[in-house]
């Protein structure tokens, strides 16, 4: 498992945990369960975790698959600089966020899942990974040369495929007159 980037899995796990925390919180609040305050906290925490984890990091090796519409989230998360770049911070943040979820049955599952995500982030941080934003690539192509402005006006000075095949076998019969006189560009 040499080249595994743990952060990729931690990210999926954390996003799932955010959703589970959110769902548990909504159920707790809507059902007016005992301890619904914890459920209300879970709703807020779930939304926060989802927003933080939605933008995928750029992979160190290989192509990175963006989630749809993640660009604005990337910009927000990027603006926090080292706080979001460093995975140690994320690991401890998730560990902290998940604790109040353990006090109510509806949010316990979200709490445990987020704790697991925090552990995987810790493993990622120990291996030296960090979060890189996926930004749109700036095209740095050379400007198109002057002569390639207009589409070709004349047919190419090449015989059509049938005649080309004939050329290989029978040179005489494949004689072909170009419709235009062929001259050098310069």
């Amino acid at each position: 498992m040499g080249k595994i980037e743990w952060a990729m899995w931690a990210n999926e796990q954390a996003l799932a945990s955010g959703l589970i925390l959110l769902t548990g919180g909504i159920v707790g609040v809507a059902g007016q369960f005992r301890g619904w305050e914890f459920a209300a906290y879970a709703v807020a925490a779930g939304v926060f975790v989802c927003l933080l984890e939605y933008p995928r990091s750029k992979r160190a090796k290989g192509t990175s698959m963006e989630r749809s519409g993640q660009y604005c989230f990337t910009v927000c998360v990027k603006s926090f600089g080292p706080l979001t770049r460093n995975y140690y911070v994320r690991a401890f943040l998730h560990a902290g966020i998940c604790v109040p979820g353990g006090f109510m049955l509806a949010t316990v599952l979200g709490c445990v899942c987020l704790a697991i995500a925090s552990l995987i982030y810790l493993a990622a941080a120990i291996r030296g990974e960090h979060w890189e934003p996926i930004l749109p690539r700036k095209d740095s192509r050379k400007p198109v040369a002057e002569s390639i402005k207009n589409p070709p006006q004349n047919p190419p000075p090449r015989p059509p495929p049938e005649t080309r095949r004939k050329q290989a076998k029978d040179v005489e019969a494949a004689a072909y007159d170009n419709p235009m006189t062929v001259t050098d560009d310069e």
Binding site: M1, K3, I4, E12, Q13, A16, T23, V27, R59, L109
Partner: protein, 535 residues
Amino acid sequence: MAFLVERWFYTRVLLGQALSWARAPAACLNFNCMLILLPVCRNLLSLLRGSIQYCSRTAARQLDRNLTFHKLVAYMIAFHTAVHIVAHLFNFEFFMDAQLKRNSSYLPFILSEIGTGDNASFLNPIRSNETSPTIVMFTTIAGLTGVAITLALILIITSSMEVIRRSYFEVFWYTHHLFVIFFIGLVFHGYGRIVRGQTPGSLRTNRPDRCANRFDDWGKNESDCAVPEFAGNPPGTWKWVVGPMILYVCERLVRIYRSHQKVVITKVVMHPSKTLELQMKKKGFRMEVGQYVFIQCPSVSRLEWHPFTLTSAPEEDYFTAHIRIVGDWTQALYEACGGDKPEQQEAWKLPKVAIDGPFGTASEDVFRYEVVMLVGAGIGVTPFASILKSVWYKHIQNNQEVFTKKIYFYWLCPETQAFEWFADLLQSLERQMADRDMADFLSYNIYLTRWKETEAAHFRVHHEAENDPITGLKQKTLYGKPNWDNEFTSIASKHPGSKVGVFLCGPPQLGKSLEKQCLSHSEADVKFIFNKENF
């Protein structure tokens, strides 16, 4: 199990609708967990496929989509688990409510008090008011197993996301083995008999429709309502999953047995296109065209088996696989076979390998069609290598009457290097066909879909050469993507009144567009039938 009957009347007094909302997904989960193991029993499916083929080719083709089915059932399991858990959250809350509102004119409280003495005939699994739903969850069998299997399920799902699966296969594969915990937990989930209904004996002495309102008088001498007694249902999930679990265990045993059969690597070829060719022999190995095997190399990893299409024909006395070097495992295999050393590896230094398979895919059907269109994108051409070789052997060696009369072969490739090993095969076929005057049998078109400016200049200059500058074949390479509409139309016009089999090994988008073309060009006299490889 019907939960809206008399037996569950008192349970519903406590839980209301939430009881049914929890039991319904539970029933669906029983069914889905039974189904989920079946599509991944490869050997069983191969067996089924072989026997069904004689009845109906269409039915056998459905077995190609076993992985899609496995994923769909998994989504259903995830959905039903979510509904089940939410309903049980409400159930726990209602159970707790019943214990906390300690008011003797409140029926749920009275019901909760039943069975406090003998701890057997109780209804409410929460037995005191000094606990909390969370604590109860961690102290009941149902709760503990529920948490364990839900965690296992969530970890399996997050590691099966496409991003993780495609790039870090090991994480996906090892985490997926948590399904063992899932099934064990699932079987024991109902052992605590936590869902309780009135016993049939009690229903005779306490009929809910008459006695529910007169709970003050229960058990008193002059009333005709005794105190009701409750018991839980025996666990039923094992009846659903034991069959598939046994089948799956058999499947793994077959794989282990096969892996111990000796496989010898007879030749290793390193191709420049980062492709490793392994030629192997195994006693008693028989294959059909286009099948695949799973290869394990214990010196690289004891637990990983990876699928590779066989590129040799059944007529040869060895079998080969072309392995592209893309990840950890393939790179390690390459090094174990001496790929990074300049001199050739001694035969006895080659690593031991194990083979599971061969398993069949749609390519076996190729010879049942009179006219065949084979489309391979990049490395997806490998099953077709096997088919072309086999066709050739059939014609020249045994002079068998082959049902297939015409093959149209399309190879779409993004880079020139990948041509190299396959081009050798095409070159030799081209030569042999020309010798036997059979140039018409196989019509192949190679499309280069991406090229660099510098290469383009080279192509322009060598345009008139007899052999193609890239492949060395007489048939020229074409540039860009094929115009499928034209291709289908021309094939339809050349072969009226026949069934044309279309086989694809490539990306899903190409599959979708080919499928559409098949449907739109299948008119009264010519039918295009689409088959897709499942990896």
